[in-house]
Symmetry: C2
DNA sequence: CGGAATCCTCTTCGATACTG
DNA sequence: CAGTATCGAAGAGGATTCCG
């Protein structure tokens, strides 16, 4: 017996403080990165697993269970023919976006050069875009991009001075861009010019003019001076 | 031998992602709460220890060492006659404020009613004020409050439509308020009216009129609808 | 007395193996 | 594919001790 015993009560800081309570919920290892990926849309177990190298299957399962328990995510079964189980953020989970973005803005100062142990995870860039998005530069642009990185497909949509990014195939993209994650990284850090990336064949453009990539980079790529404002 | 060996390299997610890097730095247990308290100004070891019930002396010392290593805090020796060692945030540490505030705004939804295991830590409220501060209501007000909670002294300063909170004795406060942490909590959640708190003797006002507390509460206390904006 | 280092126990993590 | 089971390694928590 005692099959399901030993719930042992999740660890808490036991402070009546919003920050402490928030940490009680998302302070465990991997949790916020899980949320980061889910900000781009519903994902299957294996999608999450492959997007978080090193997490270990038991931890992923455990975290998903906890997040479901705290109401940040919910399990859904996709309609046929897919029929697979996916995890998606609830409203409470989506509400974490400002905190994730704020942490990313701050954490950017520690990026430095990629270390040999670092892996570049495509999803991170599409969440990062939300933090660097330049509304000024995007004014008046309405455009939907389909960006393919490795075997992943993302939608980047500019409309009404707002940016949305998600992991899915857009229904009717204005342009379709294919590149590897290293090229995405180089473009995001403005280490290579869009025109050069195209010329070298590092970015393939289907359906759309060459200027599309330049517009995209201008609006969502990192700026040297990220966090000014003393 | 191997006295100091086994540095073993701090644990990292090894993702070239700003969120992941940020978590590498402040993702460990207690770290962000430490930063939260330090946002109110330099603190001695024992101040931090008493403000973080349950941290354990070894963990606090360890975290302080790590944070100094990552450049978030620095040790300083106060000039005589104090002469004590204090820890204070560097610019990189201060830059965490938006992330801490964002997490607090989100975490507030999990506060609910205080649990019997919860402790109310005074510092948390003065950091929280930064997140709920209503610039509209503060327009045109220039006032400095000295707020005494238990044996702690805080400065809340309104000026130029901006709010600053810190743990120190203001040089020339417009009003001096003394209360216990339960009263502070009740006022912050608007569970008691400032006038009632004064009438019941739960708030003692020295130097300043009775309206001072009402102004303060109007501007820094929580609003029922914290995070709207769908 | 403030500021830690040490020791010990318990929990969590991380990796792999295994099962419905 | 979606997890559970297992187990050694690392980290957390508490008490005590040490140093200046």
């Amino acid at each position: 017996m005692a099959t399901r015993a030993a719930k042992s009560a999740p660890r808490s800081y036991d402070q009546y403080c919003a920050v402490a309570r928030g940490l009680d919920v998302i302070g465990d290892r991997w949790t916020l990165l899980l949320v980061r990926d889910l900000l781009l849309g519903p994902k299957r177990y294996k999608d999450l697993l492959s997007g978080l190298p090193g997490i270990g299957t038991n931890l992923l399962a455990g975290r998903l269970r906890e997040l479901e328990g705290t109401g940040l995510i919910e399990r859904t079964v996709l309609p046929p023919p897919a029929g697979s189980t996916v995890y998606q953020l609830t409203e409470a989970g989506q509400a974490l976006e400002p905190a994730v973005v704020a942490l990313g803005r701050w954490g950017a100062r520690f990026l430095g050069q990629p270390r040999k142990t670092d892996v570049m995870v495509p999803r991170a860039y599409f969440v990062a875009m939300r933090g660097v998005f330049d509304a000024q530069a995007a004014a008046g642009i309405t455009e939907t991009y389909e960006v393919r990185i490795a075997d992943l497909v993302f939608e980047v949509r500019l409309a009404g001075g707002r940016l949305t990014t998600s992991e899915r195939r857009p229904s009717n993209p204005d342009s379709v861009l294919t590149m590897d994650v290293d090229t995405l990284n180089a473009l995001m850090f403005r280490q290579i010019k869009p025109s050069a990336a195209i010329a070298k064949g590092r970015v393939k453009i289907e359906k759309g003019d060459h200027k599309a990539l330049e517009r995209l980079v201008r609006i969502v790529a990192f700026h040297s001076r990220l966090s000014s404002a003393t």
